[in-house]
């Protein structure tokens, strides 16, 4: 068994061992928890040496997926090597009749696979189940929950990207793995996630039973490759990381904050952001996770309308502002209020920068009073203790502490 260089599986190198648990289990064990007859992973020296630290032998895990995806006899001619992951994925899609474009990217084909399972599951739901699902998704405003409406809602959620789509992929992966292997993926989920999960468990089970019946005739490899592909796709979504938006007026430290996330240190910025500047996805040394690619917009008021577009589908919104300016400059105050419009405050963190130019406790008090004043209307609950920070961005220790606190809050929110 040997690993073929595969760009679609390279990301497994960056996945933590605990996250690879379900994938390894699915490759090694069958439904009754007995070892699979055709698996070769447990005979590998690296597996014997490092198991359960799966990260150490990610290539062997990838190779196992490739060989399960290839024809056994053809694998002999390929000197024990299987086929590329993309071929495994497209074979699975063909088997369960997922419509896809051959020219699409691997990630897009995986999306189609998830959406097909979601759509089929929704179609198998009873009116009562549809109602429960609609309510658990927070879409209680529909008079009747038709499958079409819910499919639309789920598709929008899924294709918007971000943490919500990762959670949906986790729900699907969990239900699929449970149907194939009898045991789900262990994860810490929030209440909404658990509700949606329970709403989906039955219908996805029915979808999988349909596939299962077809597989009994077709052959055994799909019993491994279907859950394996779904798990790889789910891990890829997890790896894609957080989508962030950093908003705020001119010279409030947006680019400095982005550099902290990218480099883990203070970087002196010598040029203001010119209109719009794109950045690639990166591994944040501060947050120990990936941050998706995105763009920076200049903070000038002319680009305020672009803020809504920038914040759509983001997992974390960092709102930088200079509180001194807000209290001393009427225009800046109006701009600040305008920037609050349309934000999802569950995801927003208010970061008051330039704390070296004012007395922090005094400013905290002022900002608190400003937000709870009746004139703030619906924004009175936007400003909370765990989402408001005062920082001097030139102070590395202070800024890094703040960013770590923000990530702690984000993870707590995801798991509550």
């Amino acid at each position: 068994m040997g690993y073929r260089e595969d760009p679609d599986l390279e990301f497994l190198e960056q996945i933590k061992s605990e996250d690879l648990n379900a994938l390894v289990h699915c490759l090694v064990y069958g439904k009754d928890n007995g070892e699979r007859f055709m698996q070769m992973l447990t005979y590998n020296d690296l597996y014997k040496k490092y198991n359960p630290d799966h990260h150490q032998y990610w290539r062997e895990i990838a190779a196992e997926i490739q060989t399960f995806g290839g024809n056994t006899w053809m694998n002999v001619f390929r000197r024990g090597k299987g086929v590329l992951y993309r071929e495994v994925l497209t074979d699975v899609c063909k088997k369960i009749k997922v419509p896809f474009d051959k020219k699409s990217g691997t990630s897009e084909i995986e999306d189609k696979l998830f959406l097909k399972i979601l759509t089929d599951a929704v179609k198998k739901m009873t009116p009562e189940e549809l109602k429960n699902l609609g309510e658990s998704l927070g879409k209680g405003d529909f008079e009747s929950f038709t499958p079409e409406i819910l499919v639309g809602v789920l598709q929008t959620l899924f294709l918007a990207g971000g943490f919500a789509s990762y959670q949906l992929s986790l729900i699907i992966a969990n239900a699929v793995v449970k149907s194939f292997l009898g045991a789900g993926i262990s994860f810490a989920g929030n209440i909404t996630l658990t509700r949606v999960l329970s709403a989906f468990a039955g219908p996805i089970g029915l979808v999988i039973t349909g596939i299962w019946t077809a597989l009994d005739i077709a052959g055994p490899a799909y019993r491994v490759t279907i859950p394996a592909v779904v798990l790889v796709a789910m891990l890829r979504r997890k790896k894609q990381g957080y989508a962030i938006a950093i908003i705020g007026s001119v010279a409030t430290g947006k680019t400095t904050l982005l550099r902290y996330l990218q480099k883990g240190e203070f970087v002196q910025i010598d040029k203001g952001t010119c209109v719009k500047e794109n950045y690639e996805s990166f591994e944040s040394p501060v947050w120990n996770c990936s941050v998706k690619d995105g763009c920076e917009w200049a903070g000038a008021s002319e680009f305020l309308k672009k803020q809504k577009e920038l914040c759509e589908g983001k997992d974390i919104v960092l709102f930088c502002y200079n509180p001194k300016e807000i209290f001393e400059n009427g225009e800046k105050k109006n701009e600040f209020l305008q920037r609050l419009q349309g934000l999802d405050f569950e995801k927003v963190f208010f970061i008051a920068t330039h704390s070296d130019f004012y007395e922090v406790n005094d400013m905290k008090d002022k900002m608190h009073k400003f937000f709870i004043s009746p004139s703030m209307g619906k924004y009175t609950k936007a400003f909370r203790d765990n989402n408001s920070f005062y920082v001097n961005l030139t102070d590395e220790t202070e800024t890094m502490d703040m960013l770590k606190q923000i990530m702690n809050v984000v993870e707590e929110n995801n798991h509550d």
């Binding site: 010279a251 910025i269 203001g272 209109v275």
Partner: protein
């Protein structure tokens, strides 16, 4: 003539329409980064985007002054190609009104590239071939005429 310009001045940035500062949604005019209709050129000083179909140019660059955070102040302008030689005048007026120094080096560079057809190619390969072909035919025709004239002179003589 409609030219728009944005300079990130403090406390309020501003735009210009026909040489006058106005409230206007400038974002769609100057954010052409992902617009495939705009050809992009870039150097250390600025980025130039040219839309051949509309004959419009967008330039992103920096003025020489720095803002309160110690950074070079960005600016962007959007203009019709036919107005390109007025850029300097428009820029100077606008920047001087907010006490900033015009980035003459950038504007000179844009004009230099325009004149040298770096981003607006007048002589495309097809046109060059045609030009060369027509030029060659003219030269050959002149040579033939000259030779014919000489032959005639010889016969006359």
């Amino acid at each position: 003539m409609i030219d728009l310009m944005w300079v990130q001045t403090e406390p309020k940035s501003s735009i210009l329409v026909d040489g006058v500062a106005k409230e206007y949604d400038v974002a769609n005019y100057v954010s052409v980064d992902d617009n495939p209709r705009f050809k992009r050129m870039q150097n250390d000083l600025m980025k130039i985007y040219y839309n051949k179909e509309d004959g419009t140019i967008v330039v992103h660059g920096y003025v020489d002054n720095i803002d309160s955070a110690g950074r070079k102040i960005p600016f962007a302008f959007f203009m019709k190609e036919k107005n390109i030689f007025n850029v300097m005048t428009v820029l100077k007026n606008r920047l001087k009104s907010v006490n900033l120094d015009p980035p003459e080096e950038i504007v000179d560079d844009v004009l230099y590239r325009y004149v040298n057809q770096n981003f607006i190619p007048f002589f495309t390969r097809k046109k060059m071939r045609l030009f060369f072909l027509v030029g060659s035919l003219v030269v050959i025709a002149l040579i033939v005429l000259w030779m014919f004239g000489n032959v005639c002179k010889t016969i006359d003589g």
